[in-house]
């Protein structure tokens, strides 16, 4: 599975980090930065959490399973995973879970082979052990299934051997560096093999391999989780957790204030930030300033005026990114712009090469003049009778991005660029305009979902959408730099982590050197809960805010 997706049409905000700022005693302006402390909890009780979105289905490998909220509220609590993100020496890294008895053994080959040894204690909720047959069933269901959302990585699996019930050996046809991202969701072979998996799973399922079970999913209303009594790890403290679907932000905040909802994980849009800024009595909050969501400015490198390196650099120097971030998220205490195309989730693979791009009018002037431009009447740059005019595009209805565009427009006007806003629906933007290159400057988000680098999905020349490949591929910016593909391929295929780090940072530097794109900010995430709830609450970059729901409880 690729660990990088473009977030746009989904309009989702997701995948936050554990690097948190915590406030207590009332969430409000200027959150105090301090580590989140665990409040002692008692056994038993129930809570109700507001869920912004309802998943479309719970067949986690099918094309209908695109909702990140599905991952948060039903997938993560019930489906066993082989690796999970954890902080190692202050950086996120994939770490083996309690599904495994030991770290998998990797033989570089060729062919590359990975041997998984399964924890003898690992069982499904019906007490049947988790076995190598589950690994094989999951791998083949994804590799060969018809309605599969993402085959990345699985398409390289040639076979899964099962020498014994607790050993699975996976063989690959090519070196696959992101093998740790595979099996981010094991399925029970003994319950699903030979049956219609979609029919059995898509509307919820009664089995589990995690700390929770799905008791009910009332469509449009709620999802109820109850403890999986046969879970072999730490068992939940709460007797019941209800996720109530509340799509309207204002009503959700009111419900939180009045105690109908005990916790919220709001999308960091302007309305929710305003609510937090205005103060929430008796609420605790975690503001995560380092999520896996990178908001960026995406130049169309194949179309004028952004096919010129100097022009791209000039625009990059014309922007005060810190001011933009402060305006958007200052109320949450977040003011730092992003300086890498790697999000903090894959932070160890990225550098800070984009830090050079700070507001510098002298550099703008020098670059533009060097590129043959001159200030015309009205203070706008002109060249060969043409003004330095371009459009910026994003999806309509996203107030935060619309505000960002207005700030960009203002800042760039001051530097001598004329910007027109050209927004459209998410469907039109990502189905037509952007894949076909009908844009000049775009504003959207890239999301990392696992702490392994996968820049090749977004920046390799083979990922440029063309008529030939049916306009598929994430390199919408049409970036094609000398040496970049080589660096990206090394980062994607090397099994040596230090080589991957070096190659990823080289790619980051190449992108910054040519100003091929410009990261703006890492979208922060906010978790709010009332004082009734205790436990070590924090947000995980890949598994969301409810990754450790088993440790939540009612405060003593």
């Amino acid at each position: 599975m690729s660990t990088r997706i473009r977030l746009g049409a989904l309009g989702l905000m997701a995948l936050p980090l554990l690097t948190t700022a915590c406030t207590s005693g009332g969430a409000g302006p200027n959150p105090r930065t301090s580590p989140s402390t665990a409040v002692p909890v008692r056994q038993g009780g129930s809570i109700v959490i507001g869920a912004e979105q309802e998943p479309d289905c719970t067949d986690w490998i099918a094309s209908c399973a695109t909702s990140i909220w599905g991952t948060y509220i039903m997938d993560v609590p019930t489906i066993p995973r082989v690796f999970e993100p954890k902080k190692v020496d202050g950086k996120w890294a994939p770490v083996a879970t309690n599904v495994l008895a030991s770290e998998p053994e990797v033989a570089a080959g060729p062919p590359q082979k990975v041997t998984y040894r399964i924890n003898p204690a690992a069982v499904w909720s019906d007490k049947k052990p988790i076995t190598s047959a589950d690994f094989r069933y999951t791998a083949l269901a994804i590799r060969d299934g018809k309605d599969v959302l993402d085959r990345t990585g699985y398409s390289h699996i040639t076979k899964v051997d099962t020498p014994d019930p607790k050993t699975a050996v996976v063989t690959f046809d090519t070196p696959y560096a992101n093998w740790k991202h595979l099996f981010s969701g094991l399925l029970p072979q003994h319950l699903l093999d030979g049956k219609d998996r979609g029919a059995l799973m898509k509307d919820g399922y009664s089995w589990s391999g995690g700390p929770w079970k799905i008791e009910s999913w009332k469509k449009g209303v709620s999802v109820v989780l109850v403890p999986n009594k046969n879970y072999w790890g730490d068992k939940p403290k709460l007797d019941k957790v209800t996720f109530q679907f509340t799509a309207d932000t204002a009503a959700a905040f009111q419900a939180f204030k009045t105690g109908q909802l005990d916790a919220l994980y709001p999308t960091p849009q302007l309305d929710s930030i305003d609510q937090i800024k205005n103060g929430l009595p008796n609420a605790n909050s975690v503001v995560d300033p380092e999520s896996g969501n990178l908001e960026g400015l995406w130049f169309n490198n194949a179309k004028a005026p952004f096919d010129s390196v100097d022009f791209r650099k000039a625009v990059s120097y014309a922007l005060d990114r810190k001011a933009i971030v402060t305006r958007l998220y200052g109320a949450l205490g977040v003011t730092k712009p992003a300086q890498s195309v790697h999000t903090p989730l894959v932070g160890k693979y990225g550098g800070t090469d984009f830090a050079r791009y700070t507001l510098d009018q002298a550099k703008v002037d020098s670059l533009m003049k060097g590129d043959g431009w001159a200030k015309g009447s009205g203070g706008i740059w002109e060249k060969a009778g043409k003004k330095a005019t371009f459009t910026v595009s994003t999806m309509t209805g996203n107030k935060r991005r619309e505000l960002t565009e207005q700030i960009l427009q203002e800042q760039l006007r001051t530097a001598g660029f004329e910007v027109t806003i050209d927004n459209t629906s998410a469907a039109d933007l990502f189905a037509n305009k952007v894949p076909k290159g009908n844009f000049q400057l775009g504003l959207w988000t890239l999301v990392d979902t696992f702490p392994l680098p996968s820049l090749e999905a977004s920046f390799s020349s083979s990922a440029i959408p063309t008529a030939k490949n049916g306009y598929a591929g994430l390199n919408m910016s049409r970036i094609d730099l000398p040496g970049l593909d080589k660096a990206l391929n090394t980062a994607a295929s090397s099994l040596d982590d230090s080589t991957r780090v070096e190659a990823s940072r080289k790619a980051d530097k190449l992108l910054a050197d040519s100003a091929a794109t410009l990261p703006l900010d890492v979208i922060p995430n906010v978790l709010l809960w009332n004082k009734k709830i205790g436990g070590p609450l924090a947000v995980d970059p890949a598994r969301g805010p409810f990754w450790n729901l088993a440790q939540w409880g009612l405060a003593r």
Binding site: M1, S2, L10, A251, A472
Partner: protein, 321 residues
């Protein structure tokens, strides 16, 4: 009467299907059922889903395939949830029906009372006050009205009285742990009020106008000249005449409401027909939208028919042919 009903229903069939095709065409042209997959990690998913849903065929062909299935009683499968469409529509219809029944009943009673009072006491202080309130009710958008009601009737009373729970709930129609009739009532009040205020505002104005027309008609004047008491004139003569158009309007409006409660359902987290429409539209789920439209069309036709029948019953001058 039977011939009239049969003819009306027969006329409606082609209209409904033309409308369903136009909607199918419009949604397939404007919205993208694959939007959620675009920009995903595996571009191959788009081709796989395109093939599975038959999206590579022409729109008329897609529509025809859907219609052929529909004619055999197969309502199809949602492209968004991959589940049966019927299992999405029926619960949503039931939920919306609850809101409409309570909202329309309450609104009808209040609107009639206010409208009759305003007509009988034309230009009095009460009439002017109700007129002002009606315009205010018409002017208030439901999303704003809903939030105001939440603040005034739930959040502030809870705060002022120091209650652990708000007196009225505003998330869903039931508490997560179920609850009895009182719990249901506490959930129902705010969304129904949001719906009712708008309806009362417009229906009371309509009642006032029809009542005024009736009160100035010749047969009322004749009744007055005969010395019939005022109360009887208002209730027996004028109100009965005004009731025909009133019932007609309320029935038509009630039918239209089945698909028109998007905002109210969104604010109060109620999964009715309005929210189902919105979710399906945003996902480009034409396989839900078209049956949804057919259901709404049938509801509107039936309610229109009921309106005509009620009109004929209430006004002896009307004959259906």
């Amino acid at each position: 009467m039977f011939t009239y009903i049969a003819r009306r229903l027969l006329y409606s069939i082609p209209v409904v299907f033309v409308a369903s095709f136009l909607l199918f065409w419009a949604v397939r042209t404007v919205f993208d059922p694959l939007a959620k997959l675009r920009g995903g990690p595996d571009p191959g998913a788009i081709a796989r889903v395109t093939e599975r849903l038959g999206l590579d065929r022409s729109i008329p062909e897609q529509y025809w395939r859907w219609l052929a299935s529909f004619a055999t009683g197969d309502w199809g499968v949602s492209s968004r949830t991959t589940g049966p469409v019927l299992r999405l529509i029926l619960p949503a219809l039931g939920t919306t029906l609850q809101l409409i029944v309570w909202g329309v009943l309450l609104a009808a009673v209040i609107a009639l009372a206010v409208g009759v009072y305003s007509a009988v006491r034309q230009y009095s202080a009460g009439d002017l006050a109700f007129t002002g309130l009606s315009y205010l009710g018409i002017a208030m958008p439901p999303f704003w009205l809903g939030l105001i009601l939440i603040q005034f009737l739930a959040a502030w009373p809870q705060e002022l009285l120091g209650l652990t729970d708000p007196p009225l709930y505003f998330v869903g129609l039931h508490s997560p742990d179920g609850g009895g009739p009182l719990d249901y009532l506490r959930h129902l009040v705010l969304p129904v009020l949001t719906l009712t205020i708008g309806l009362v505002a417009s229906w009371s104005r309509f009642t006032r106008a029809t009542m005024l027309e009736a009160l100035t008609s010749e047969y009322v004047r004749t009744a007055r000249a005969k010395g019939v008491p005022r109360r009887r004139i208002v209730v027996r003569h004028a109100l009965r005449t005004a009731l025909g158009p009133f019932v007609s309007v309320t029935a038509v409006d009630a039918g239209l409401l089945f698909g028109g409660l998007v905002v109210t359902e969104q604010i109060f987290a109620i999964q009715g027909m309005g929210r189902l429409f919105l979710d399906s539209l945003l996902a480009g789920d034409v396989f839900v939208l078209v049956p949804w439209t057919l259901v709404i069309a049938v509801v509107v036709i039936v309610f229109n028919l009921l309106a005509d029948l009620a009109y004929a019953v209430l006004d002896p001058r009307v004959r259906l042919r």
